[in-house]
């Protein structure tokens, strides 16, 4: 791929910590978290702030505009606040993904000083039992609510993320009431991805079938979103969205060409997928220059060449593939070992005649007929 067509590196996804204080039943990065949790306290090598600073400087030369701090749980890393300071000083737009349980009032001034797009907080139910069972930690619910209260008090922008499954789907309405109470800007409902521990949930039948997800998403759009003052998103691929949303682009898709994952050990990958699949690591900030990796990593260039043209299955036949790029490529790889495999939801929809036919091209063999 010529240098001219090199995409800008707009966003760094920084997996701040390989550790987590919860034990969530759907976690897709549990392998790395389980491994890191075996290491005795204090032995985990956090990225020195000076190295993060260097990486950000290099990335800004490539167009860096925003940074997402995620994990594991970012607040598990004692250097997290130092990292935030760097993001602030470099003027980056910041997103933080956290379970909220470790947030304290002492963190607020630092958060207030950021160019903060949002803090995404996970909440998987409108009552203690549901949330704590799913997160497998007693008291997590109350700690998360305390964080929401703090963030509301200091008027920080919050997105609530709810993973929808059989045992919490009836709490959606109440969860939105909580969201109103804590003045959150938006709520995102995510189906559970059949990866990591989510695969076990799927096997146990705890995930919702596609037909139910589609019904719920419609109910959210046509009913719940009307009574909720913030934005309500349902995390289904764009093929299931109404035409106007596609036309007006009122959706977000993974910007895989312009993001880079920085893992807690300094490794570079597409995103957190490198935690689970070491073969998808294509560099390391202690050994490689970021521009060299961005420009020359074979895996990155291969993906740039093949997406969206090389997408397989339903994604290869989808009218929206240039916009969507097959949604989550990490999930496709985790499930099949192929970065170009079709997205599971859309493929399942096609196989069960639930895929919107106006958005589908004839199969290649049909075209030849």
């Amino acid at each position: 791929m010529g240098i001219k067509s090199l995409p800008q590196l707009r966003s760094l996804y920084f997996y701040v910590s390989g550790q987590c204080n919860l034990n969530c039943r759907h976690c897709w990065q549990h392998k790395r978290i389980d491994e890191d949790s075996m290491v005795p306290d204090g032995n985990n090598a956090e990225i020195p702030p000076a190295d993060l600073f260097r990486v950000i400087k290099e990335a800004k030369e490539l167009g860096l505009y925003s940074i997402k701090f995620t994990g594991g749980e970012p607040f598990m890393n004692p250097l997290f606040i130092d990292y935030l300071n760097i993001a602030k000083n470099e003027g980056l737009r910041v997103v933080i993904e956290t379970n909220g349980t470790l947030l304290e009032e002492s963190h607020i001034p630092r958060l207030k000083a950021l160019n903060l797009r949002e803090i995404a907080i996970s909440l998987d139910g409108a009552n203690q039992e549901t949330h704590d069972n799913f997160r497998q930690k007693k008291g997590a619910y109350l700690q998360t609510l305390a964080a929401l209260k703090l963030l509301a008090k200091y008027k920080l922008p919050v997105q609530l993320i709810m993973c929808i499954h059989r045992k919490n789907k009836d709490e959606l309405g109440d969860l939105l009431l909580l969201a109103e109470q804590y003045k959150v800007n938006s709520v995102k409902i995510n189906p559970i991805q059949p990866m990591g521990r989510g695969q076990e949930l799927a096997e146990k039948g705890e995930c919702l079938p596609l037909s139910e997800l589609l019904e719920l998403s419609k109910y959210c759009r046509e009913n719940l979103s009307k009574s909720f003052s913030g934005n309500l998103f349902f995390g289904l691929p764009i093929s299931f969205r109404p035409f106007e949303e596609i036309r007006d682009r009122t959706f977000s898709v993974c910007q895989i060409f312009s993001i880079l994952g920085l893992l807690s050990g300094g490794e570079l990958s597409f995103c957190g997928i490198g935690h689970n699949n070491r073969e998808l690591i294509f560099g390391n900030i202690y050994e490689d220059s970021l521009p060299d990796v961005w420009k020359g990593a074979p895996l990155l260039n291969e993906l740039r060449q093949c997406l969206p043209k090389g997408l397989k299955g339903v994604c290869g036949r989808c009218l929206l593939k240039s916009t969507c790029l097959g949604e989550c490529r990490a999930e496709a790889y985790e499930r099949t070992g192929d970065l170009l495999a079709p997205h599971w939801i859309c493929q399942e929809a096609l196989d069960s005649n639930l895929f919107p036919t106006t958005r589908l091209l004839p199969a290649a063999d049909k075209l030849k007929e």
């Binding site: 035409f243 106007e244 036309r247 009218l319 958005r359």
Partner: protein, 100 residues
């Protein structure tokens, strides 16, 4: 090259046209490019049958929407057609057009 208002227009048969409730998609199978048409765009695309010219299109649309000023219809129509013409989604055909 610009649209000639009295020449018949046809759509590029390679472009995939998919009607939706509120508009339509135009998909270019080679480039993967997707365009979204509003309801009026959908109607215009459907009318470009290789026999109709821009003048005739304007006439028909004006008859259908008498409350919309003719100037407005003319400008919107020409802008829309020019854009699609420039990227090869529509072209001129050789059919003879009846006068508008």
């Amino acid at each position: 090259m610009n649209i000639k208002n009295d020449k018949p227009l046809h759509v590029n048969p390679d472009i995939v046209f998919r009607e939706e409730e509120e508009g339509a998609f135009l998909f270019h199978p080679e480039t993967g490019e997707l365009k979204c048409l509003n309801s009026m765009g959908r109607i215009i695309w459907s009318m470009c049958d290789g026999q109709i010219s821009a003048d005739l299109l304007e006439e028909k649309i004006s008859n259908k929407y008498p409350s919309v000023p003719r100037d407005e219809i003319h400008n919107d129509l020409i802008t829309f057609l020019e854009e699609l013409f420039a990227i090869g989604y529509i072209g001129h055909s050789t059919a003879v057009v009846p006068p508008a």
